[in-house]
């Protein structure tokens, strides 16, 4: 059972306005049958310090990543996770989180790998909800577990692997990391832990568009016009393009994947989750350092 879409005026210019809900909409619909609210943060304990009433927690690391292989959880584990959170296959899922929905977008992307159809982001995320003085609680959410079907993950449409990137040269690549990571001054985001990339720089031809440029100062997404000015006019993306976005481990680029796919309507966008921690340590892949995009490598 799916819950009605948010008809908010400011979403109508986006390609898929049904992928966003406003804080007003969520406040009105909390507790409605068929609606599941999920908090997904960078900090694994932030949910426990206060969450939207009725929200459940999904942690990007402990819940969505396979504990052994560098991959996402398998279909059985995903089904067990969602079922235990009271989320059914036909539930409307609204995800929100800290840091401009950085991790919320990552969770949404993983839900999409498993083909969960109705999954939306709370525009403005956790911070806007709190800034507006809306209710949060430390009261544990009681859920009634449900059966979630075991569904094969479909990686082909929205996930790129290293081999896909090597075959992709000549098509647009978007590097969403900080300028320092792009140029090769450092391999991690400023103030983030070293995560083991051996070389620094960027994938040849990638355009540098730090992910947070898509966020407005209040944490909501920028308007359609502002986003078009960045991704179409400045970067040169055009309808029909095959696009791959990447960052360090695929979380920040999930945010950009959401913007390109759901807000701007590009139909062939993949997220390279191996990202710099794989590319920057792989043997004999081409790398460009400095602020220029670089040339398509000779085969």
């Amino acid at each position: 059972m799916s819950v009605e879409f948010d008809p908010a005026e400011r979403f109508t210019a986006y390609a898929h306005p049904e992928r966003l809900v406003s804080t007003e909409w969520l406040a009105e619909h909390l507790g409605e049958p068929g609606l599941a609210v999920v908090e997904s943060d960078e900090d694994v304990l932030l949910y426990e310090t206060g969450h939207i009433p009725g929200a459940v927690k999904v942690d990007w690391h402990t819940d969505l990543n396979d504990p052994v292989v560098r991959d996402y959880v398998d279909p059985e584990r995903f089904a067990a996770l969602l079922g235990s959170k009271g989320i059914a296959r036909d539930s409307t899922v609204v995800i929100y989180g800290d840091k401009n929905n950085w991790w919320a977008a990552y969770a949404l992307w993983v839900f999409t790998l498993f083909g969960h159809e109705d999954v939306r982001l709370l525009d403005g995320g956790r911070d806007l909800w709190i800034d507006e003085g809306r209710e949060i609680t430390t009261e544990p959410t009681t859920v009634t577990p449900v059966e979630y079907p075991v569904v094969e993950r479909d990686d082909a449409a929205i996930r790129a692997f290293k081999e896909d990137v090597l075959a992709h040269f000549g098509n647009p690549l978007i590097d969403v990391r900080s300028p320092e990571e792009y140029s090769g001054e450092r391999t991690t985001a400023p103030a983030y832990p070293e995560e083991g990339a051996l070389r620094a720089g960027h994938i040849p031809t990638a355009a540098s568009v730090p992910w947070a440029r898509a966020a407005a100062s209040d944490g909501r997404f920028k308007s359609r016009d502002e986003l078009d000015a960045i991704y179409r006019d400045e970067v040169g993306l055009a309808d029909g393009d095959e696009i791959i976005a990447y960052c360090r481990i695929g979380e920040r680029s999930s945010h950009t994947w959401f913007v390109l796919t759901h807000l701007l309507g590009f139909e062939h966008v993949r997220n390279y989750d191996g990202s710099w921690t794989e590319w920057g340590s792989a043997v004999r892949v081409p790398i460009v350092s400095g602020s220029e995009r670089g040339e398509v490598p000779a085969r």
């Binding site: 960078e42 900090d43 694994v44 304990l45 932030l46 426990e48 310090t49 690391h61 402990t62 504990p67 800290d98 103030a191 983030y192 832990p193 070293e194 995560e195």
Partner: protein, 145 residues
């Protein structure tokens, strides 16, 4: 790790965590987070005296004083970063008031012994390892100065 070198407070903390089921360890970490003491006034007036821990995802600042051979450890991290606060609080409660030698003898892999890898992920535990390393380095610097 040689348990005989572990100061009593750190050993107690480890035992407390290991006695709990994995999901309850998160709650204990949150309790630690809530117990992180406020910075003393002179650090609140001079945030430039604090050292930022780059290994942590969230801004956390540490400062070590050594007074008559006794280590005083101060830390601060924002409320929006409860995991980081929890890590800092474990170290403050476990190290503050120890002698220089006792602090320097704490095994570098102490954070890995708390059983938090499964609860918060090994990657996040590395933030605490970074904090411990910086505390020890600061202790050495203070003693050498």
């Amino acid at each position: 790790m040689d348990a005989t070198l572990l100061p009593a407070a750190l050993a107690d903390t480890r035992d407390d965590f290991l006695a709990l089921a994995v999901r309850d360890r998160l709650q204990l970490l949150l309790d630690f987070s809530n117990e992180l003491p406020e910075l003393p006034q002179h650090f609140r007036d001079h945030p430039d005296l604090l050292e930022r821990v780059e290994e942590c995802q969230s801004p956390v600042y540490l400062f070590v004083e050594v007074v008559d051979g006794v280590v005083r450890l101060h830390a601060t991290a924002p409320a929006e970063s409860p995991t980081t606060r929890g890590f800092a609080s474990i170290l403050v409660q476990g190290l503050d008031g120890l002698t220089v030698d006792e602090v320097l003898a704490v095994p570098a892999d102490y954070p890995q012994s708390l059983g938090l890898g499964e609860a918060v992920s090994p990657l996040r535990v590395r933030g605490m390892t970074g904090m411990l390393g910086r505390v020890k380095r600061q202790v050495r610097e203070r003693v050498a100065a």
